[in-house]
């Protein structure tokens, strides 16, 4: 297997040699030709045509596909840009048909990547990839629109999830977009449906439920997302909690989120931002300093807003004269803060006979004393 993979890699490299020998052009050379000739202007025309006269646009693209130009690289780029210009236009079957056709196309013009290494040729343009990406975007938008329509009519806004003809992640993202733009009263009609689905399909529903919770200020649902959700959307909820919920509610939610391993550090750092509005946040952060997993995050959070009460608490930790996680995180807090009061406290620690000598030595190294 190893040999096979090694040989395959070599063969791939060898396959690039003829193109190198044939003089593959730099991207900047190709781009200069693109902009100095008529190609860029044609692309601009096509872009305008895609919106205003889609039928003629499609006809023009099919003509390009049927008649390879002498300058393959320019034609490939023209086709790529034409495909991308279809992103915002009306999504009709004829357009889909064209995208499916171009989506089968493999790259035909190579260049040497002059912003990431010139050793290996890469496609100069990839109209096939562009067409496939636009199709995905259309699928997302279709799911969004169907979800929005369902909300307007009091139907099931999650119904696009059941459309087997669309990749599930595209449906999910489309519904997330719908929940991000629908009027809140319409969102609320979907609440119980979303809660139920969150339990059954947490990976797919987390982003949808999080969006609903954030937009409607629903801390109960937000808590359920933290407890039952999965994936990146849970992190997004943590990051947005302070702006979406009342200070005490946000603090309570963030404290709950510190129990969820994958977002715990982010929650702790958000608690740091909540300290000025919520005393309980500061207390919680101080209590976390000795936590093996989260103490570092607590130190970072406290360092960003080290007021007199925090300094006093840190001083008390140092005064215990022990070398444990709490002490080390207290020192880390002071170092990350770097202010005059924090630095003075650290300097005093270096001279404190109660402090363990080995730790004092480490601190001296860290602060360059």
């Amino acid at each position: 297997m190893t040999r096979t993979r090694g040989l395959l890699t070599l063969l791939c490299l060898l396959a690039t040699l003829p193109s190198l020998a044939a003089g593959v052009e730099d991207r900047s050379t190709l781009d200069a030709r693109w902009r100095s000739g008529a190609w860029a202007a044609r692309a601009a025309d096509l872009r305008a045509q895609a919106q205003a006269e889609p039928a003629r646009f499609r006809e023009a693209i099919r003509r390009e596909l049927a008649a390879p130009a002498p300058d393959t690289a320019m034609q490939e780029r023209l086709l790529q840009e034409a495909m991308l210009s279809m992103l915002p236009i009306a999504r009709d079957p004829a357009g889909r048909d064209l995208l499916h056709t171009v989506g089968l196309r493999t790259p035909r013009a190579m260049t040497l990547q002059d912003e990431g290494g010139r050793q290996l040729p890469i496609p100069y343009a990839d109209p096939g990839a562009a067409a496939r990406a636009v199709l995905d975007t259309w699928d997302r938008f279709d799911s969004r629109d169907r979800s929005l329509a369902a909300m307007i009519h009091g139907g099931d806004a999650l119904a696009p999830l059941e459309d087997a003809s669309v990749r599930r992640e595209l449906s999910v993202r489309g519904i997330e977009l719908a929940f991000g733009s629908a009027p809140v009263p319409q969102l609320l009609t979907q609440r119980e449906r979303v809660r139920g689905a969150l339990t059954l399909r947490p990976r797919e529903l987390t982003g949808i439920a999080a969006t609903l919770a954030l937009r409607s200020g629903d801390t109960v649902l937000a808590r359920e997302v933290i407890e039952r959700g999965a994936g990146r959307a849970r992190l997004d909820l943590v990051l947005a909690a302070r702006s979406a919920f009342a200070a005490d509610d946000a603090t309570a939610l963030l404290i709950a989120a510190t129990a969820a391993q994958d977002v715990a550090s982010a929650a702790v750092l958000q608690l740091g931002n909540a300290m000025s509005a919520s005393p309980s946040a500061r207390e919680h952060l101080l209590s976390l300093l000795g936590d093996a997993a989260l103490g570092g995050s607590a130190a970072q959070a406290l360092a960003a807003d080290t007021d007199a009460s925090t300094l006093s608490a840190l001083s008390a930790i140092l005064a215990r004269g022990v070398d444990d996680l709490s002490t080390r995180r207290a020192i880390l807090t002071l170092r990350l803060n770097g202010g005059s009061a924090a630095s003075a406290l650290l300097t005093r620690y270096l001279d404190d006979p109660r402090a363990p000598a080995a730790l004092r030595q480490e601190v001296a190294t860290w602060i360059g004393a």
Binding site: T2, R3, R5, D31, L87, G117, A133, G296, T365, G368
Partner: protein, 644 residues
């Protein structure tokens, strides 16, 4: 005031307006008129909206996240830095120091990972490896991967396995973010760029440091002051090996993406990185890699040391197979350097060195998104968890390889079923070693024995379980070739020690592993009832799990010096870069229990013919095949040096 309006006003003051941003046609993507408004468009990356000056990627532009621990996305610099500092503060196996300051005055930290002593098991200075991250600001994959590497090394330092092996035998140096000024510029403008749409230069797409070529001070991090948006020095063109070489892909133009700076090592960031070698120390350095993106490749240089080059080729062959998306390896010839850091470390310290270009290969289209120019620098959030895991694992495999070849440390032979030990011998430690034989009672004809073989290195990988498996991407022969050879002439006999397995449980000689999981193997051998009393030898040949063949002679400790392995012998006892079969253990066979020890010594078959030791091939053999093909290939590819 609207920032675009401010930018427009600034540009109006800066000079006459021309119609287009014009390339210099110097072979590089540099412009003639960088102060022109045409060269200073402002663009915003979006998921789907490509109206106006928006550039639709097809996925949400990653936003740096305040989180010390890894997330499905990219951490902001403050969190990455605090994470490093917390690990340093709380882990006995990690220390750190400031190497210098960036142009804007930010501290550049490097971290050392390893046990407090700097000696290996043989009392010599440990080998060292150095990884640099974040030299190019916009390549966010790099600091994430470097941080994952640090985290992995800390988490595994007491795993009684390969993490602990690295902890105890190697001095790992990681500089996670070198170009902090540039990196924070890109993070502060996570979805904003300026330049032209196909060649964005500032904001999220800054590559260089912040040097203003005229004042020498740091420029600001704003996009709305376009007079400085093209300024900066490419820190990967600023090193003294090949500086301003006149070859393509480094530039005298201060606005060029690949401007090499006013003089070699002119930049404080370059000076800081180069000073890191002393922490190895430099004489102990064995490997360097600079983490970049994108292209999925290792871009290396050759020196005039063919033995170093050969080791580099073999190391690369093992490492590039680790990520799930295959990486490529290409090499520039000696003399074609252009001031990159891999050339500087590789040639100055005579060590394997390369630039690791992390994925993607082409851009966002690799993940099904829009084929937007420069999207290769914007890895989608959902891809980075896998990518940083794979890059960390790739680097760890390289460390394991360069920690050195394994040798057989001890052999114990006992009668099967809990019977008496009939042979036990152990090599001592030191640069030159001697064998201590504790038992030599003879393997009696007609009886079956368990042969336990202990190595100084974990030899196989096992993902959290008790079974040895292949390390990702590797394909080594799982069992070692262990033979008991005795007799001479027509009565010469060679018995395979079979039915063996690598030992995942602790227990020591005869029971389990010695110090690290899978550092010992045990199999059985039956002595024919007709065997006559004779000197014997145990021959052992295998590779470690990265495919590095074991040392053929344990009397001299293998190490690294002068750009090649030392004390690393092949089958015939001569220095090699390929290792060989160990034949250093000499039990004897007895026709009856209690028979007297025969005189003389048995030489194993591997030492008698040029055919080698048999089963030691595996990955090592694969490496040899690779080399044969790779060398001519590398030669043919070496003409071009990449903009890495």
């Amino acid at each position: 005031m609207d920032r675009r309006l401010i930018a427009a006003m600034t540009l109006l003051l800066a000079g006459p307006v021309s119609a287009a941003c014009s390339f210099k046609n110097d072979g590089d993507a540099t412009f003639q008129n960088t102060l022109d408004p045409a060269c200073n468009g402002l663009y915003t990356y979006t998921e789907s909206d490509d109206s106006g000056d928006n550039i639709a990627l097809g996925f949400p532009p990653p936003l740096p996240v305040a989180s010390q621990t890894a997330v499905t996305g990219f951490r902001d610099y403050a969190s990455l830095f605090a994470r490093h500092q917390d690990l340093m503060t709380t882990s006995a196996g990690m220390s750190g120091q400031v190497l210098g300051q960036t142009l804007a005055g930010r501290d550049i930290w490097i971290y050392r990972l390893g046990d407090p002593d700097s000696s290996d098991a043989d009392g010599r200075t440990e080998g060292a490896v150095l990884i640099n991250g974040g030299i190019h600001a916009r390549e966010w994959q790099s600091p994430e991967s470097a941080t994952e590497l640090i985290e992995t090394l800390v988490e595994t330092q007491a795993d009684a396995y390969w993490g602990q092996y690295l902890y105890e035998n190697l001095n790992v140096l990681v500089l996670p973010v070198l170009n902090i000024d540039g990196f924070t510029t890109t993070q502060a403008n996570h979805d904003q760029v300026s330049g032209i749409a196909s060649y964005p230069r500032e904001g999220r797409m800054r590559r260089k440091n912040l040097r203003d070529a005229i004042s020498g001070t740091a420029i600001d991090q704003s996009l709305v002051t376009p007079a400085d948006n093209y300024q900066g020095v490419d820190l990967n063109r600023n090193s003294g090996v090949g500086f301003d070489s006149g070859l393509p892909n480094n530039s005298d133009d201060v606005t060029s993406l690949i401007y090499h700076g006013p003089s070699p090592q002119s930049e404080p960031e370059t000076q800081a990185l180069q000073s890191a070698a002393a922490l190895g120390p430099g004489t102990s350095l064995r490997f360097y890699s600079d983490l970049h993106s994108f292209q999925r490749s290792f871009l290396a240089v050759y020196s005039n040391n063919t033995r170093r080059n050969r080791t580099q080729d073999r190391l690369a062959a093992a490492m590039l197979r680790v990520p799930t998306n295959d990486y490529s390896y290409s090499v520039s010839s000696f003399g074609s350097e252009i001031g990159t850091t891999d050339a500087w470390f590789g040639i100055t310290y005579d060590v394997p060195a390369w630039t690791t270009e992390i994925e993607p290969r082409g851009g966002a289209q690799d993940y099904g998104f829009n084929p937007v120019s420069h999207s290769g620098f914007i890895l989608p959030d959902q891809e980075i968890p896998r990518v940083r895991d794979e890059i960390a694992q790739t680097m760890m495999l390289g460390f394991y390889y360069m920690a050195g070849p394994a040798h057989v440390q001890a052999i114990r032979i006992a009668e099967a079923g809990g019977g008496p030990v009939v042979y036990q011998a152990t090599w001592g430690t030191g640069v030159t070693r001697s064998l201590s034989v504790a038992s030599d009672a003879g393997l009696v004809a007609g009886r079956t024995y368990e042969v336990w073989v202990g190595f100084d290195k974990p030899m196989r990988w096992g993902a959290g379980g008790g079974t040895a498996i292949q390390f990702p991407g590797q394909s080594v022969t799982m069992n070692p070739a262990v033979r008991l050879e005795y007799g001479a002439g027509s009565s010469a006999t060679s018995l395979s020690v079979g039915s063996g397995s690598w030992l995942a449980a602790a227990g020591g000689p005869g029971v389990g592993y010695q110090r690290y999981g899978f550092d010992a193997w045990m199999g059985t051998v039956s002595i024919p009832a007709t065997a006559a009393t004779a000197p014997a030898v145990i021959s052992v040949s295998t590779t470690d799990f990265a495919g590095l063949q074991m040392d053929g002679d344990a009397r001299t400790a293998a190490g690294w010096s002068g750009g090649h392995w030392t004390g690393y012998e092949g089958d015939f006892g001569t220095a090699t870069d390929s290792g060989g079969t160990d034949c250093g253990f000499h039990p004897h066979v007895a026709d009856t229990a209690g028979a007297s020890t025969p005189s003389g010594s048995k030489t194993c078959a591997a030492k008698q013919s040029s055919a080698g030791g048999g089963g030691g091939g595996g990955g090592g053999g694969g490496g040899a095949i690779w080399l044969l093909l790779a060398l001519p290939l590398a030669g043919s590819l070496r003409r071009r040096r990449g903009t890495v």
